[in-house]
Symmetry: C2
Amino acid sequence: MGKRIIFNGFTQCCMNHHSEGLWKHPQDGSSRGYTSTDYWVDLARLLERGCFDGLFLADVHGTYNIYRGSRDAAVAHAVQFPSNDPTVIIPLMAHATRHLGFACTYSTTYFAPYHCAKLFSTLDHLSGGRAAWNIVTSYLADANANFGIEEVLSHDDRYERAEEYMEVCYKLWEHSWEEDAVVRDPVRDMYADPAKVHEIHHDGTWFKVNGPHMCEPSPQRTPLLFQAGQSGRGTLFAAKHAEAIFSIHPTIAASAASTRRIHEAAAGFGRAPESIKICQGISVVVAPSDEEAQMKYETALRYASPEGALALFSGWTGVDLALVDGNRQVHEFESNAITSLLGFFKQVDPARAWTMNDIKHYMALGSIQPKIIGSPQTVADELERWADEGLVDGFNLVPIVQPGGFRDFVELVVPELQRRGRMRTRYEGTTLRENYFGAGHARLPAEHTAHTALPPWKHAARRA
Amino acid sequence: MGKRIIFNGFTQCCMNHHSEGLWKHPQDGSSRGYTSTDYWVDLARLLERGCFDGLFLADVHGTYNIYRGSRDAAVAHAVQFPSNDPTVIIPLMAHATRHLGFACTYSTTYFAPYHCAKLFSTLDHLSGGRAAWNIVTSYLADANANFGIEEVLSHDDRYERAEEYMEVCYKLWEHSWEEDAVVRDPVRDMYADPAKVHEIHHDGTWFKVNGPHMCEPSPQRTPLLFQAGQSGRGTLFAAKHAEAIFSIHPTIAASAASTRRIHEAAAGFGRAPESIKICQGISVVVAPSDEEAQMKYETALRYASPEGALALFSGWTGVDLALVDGNRQVHEFESNAITSLLGFFKQVDPARAWTMNDIKHYMALGSIQPKIIGSPQTVADELERWADEGLVDGFNLVPIVQPGGFRDFVELVVPELQRRGRMRTRYEGTTLRENYFGAGHARLPAEHTAHTALPPWKHAARRA
């Protein structure tokens, strides 16, 4: 029996964020539901019924306006637009569940680290230790224009700044309040001992933050740290900071190679391979039989808006794919960006002479996530292959129809995976970090970079 | 029978934010509860059972560190510290209720207007139109140090900047998406019509924001607008923007005079007096009889931490009250700040030779909020006097023990006020603005400043 596999639902506070046009599907609930509390409560309960580890929430702060040089396709096809703020639905869902964790995307570019720390401490308190932060540095020029940012940092500078951002957050979460700072002592009339609550006095290149942290220590202190960068610099950042990595690789082989690179990079920071969980984005269509699943996929395809998928992909890559003729083969294009972009699909099937029309079809449902379409057995087999050969620890599952696709997975695939010993049948601990790393691991491990520069009181405590 | 009176619960995501030390009180639930979802859900349900209009949430981003030149008193007595983020508990409470509104303090200094607009649209969607924004410009030097703000704007510049901040928000909330922009048209494969979703192209002194707004129109579009500034510039800002004002006057006479000033200022912006609701901060201790209420107050006083109250007041005013000898009378102090500050108490009782010890005693429970202590009849009589003679439209009610004080009020005072026709017995509409202004008033009125500068599509629609 192989290792247990982690499962997160993957969504966003908008409709069908990786399957454009599916708001028209008769079974879609997200387009009416994303603005209502009932929708999110039901989704959280469903995932907990399925023993999922967490729900992963994406976020975006602008429109995808590269395709045809306009945001019109993104607006017409509701391409992650409109999109609401995801942070505020977490306590709501936490109240309706007991174990499910909640990972939220939050940008180091648009929010101050002091507030980031306060927000995630609040979420961690209210959820009883089930908050995760998906650290992103943000890249969309259109989003920058909404925040008045005119000078865009280079990719590497964004990460340098993010490094310092993390340092500030660690100081606030881990070092500002000592473990026994909250004394609740009526005799001394003291709620917290001022001598055990510390300013952080951070004075760096990008940030100046005095502290102390506004929040008393939450169950996890630092939320579970997620990261999604796949660039060279992104991998280095993840290897240092991330406890979980959200990656989207086109094939099992590409995934295995990436996992090896990450483990190697992590070792450079003194971290064991098992201290970082790799979660692959995956799109599953499941039905009782392979044939029914294929029919379900074909039916959904009729509701897709492939132009929306191209708007999304053009936004991600900065390349206007409207300029690429549908029937020409991808190797005919010269631009570096397009080549590297289309290289992704070449990996999916090297034998195929990929045209833009092929790509449009591939991306129409589930965007660049690999798709698994089949019976519970077929799906479970393929997920096991990703885990065992692709060396992933788990998945960010993005169904095509939401929330129906999550329900199908919980009802059909989860029992199969449980039979195979690949999914839990009951939760082990109470915090999200324990969902990932086992009971008793509610806090960041001692070897994590957040702990390497110990503040004086921690040194003293160690000596004692 | 007099006019109906508005009631908001007034609290913060911390323990007893205006009665320091009460975390020690045996009936206090806030010090254990403020980090849990159950606490907030129960509080919201309680207030809705009492037909309250809303729950008003304060917020703060630093410690009060003026008293004795240190934040030690604030930390020891938990003076609004620790304090969690209030925005994220609103959808949670909205899900547990159907009518209660939620006003949240949000600073124009620490957050970008683009995000502010997205956040409050999200809250308004998820609550079905029950979100309010308490607009603050922030003043604490210690909070600025947490956000790396070294050059503090003058009081008036803060308001100038806030004016532009409001302009950006109005453009996003009211002008970016036309009323019929969301078409959900499967035939044209169109969720929203790109021609009816507009960039705002804001390019001002303080902000540059391109748009369009990330969110489709929510039930209220613009959240109900609350404001709490009592300075000259603050009053002008409120007279132009606010639909509700949170004020704390020491006496009924001072309140009446202030209301007249606000109405006069509002007229200058073409606004009718009834378009701005004045809510007075008030602290109520109620029991079946006057004697029992007085006993309840005296008992609570034993748990108070008057030093915490001084830390709070020193933080607000920037004057270290530890330098002021307890027994000297207030008129002996020369500093302008102290004089104007102590003038507040002179108003409470002009005949009294106020000493710092008197002030400390006065503030120990409920801080500067006037206190009403008595039977349901006594409390109702006094509240009616504030409404009729003090010309307030309602109250921000801050109990001394939380949530017990809210429960007492709902069980003892609300029925009395309902008998007198001063409180509703059932809700009139579905949105928070309708709680304030009656059924059918879900949106900002046409004469509000948000509408005076109409964008082209609105002009066209008017002509049609």
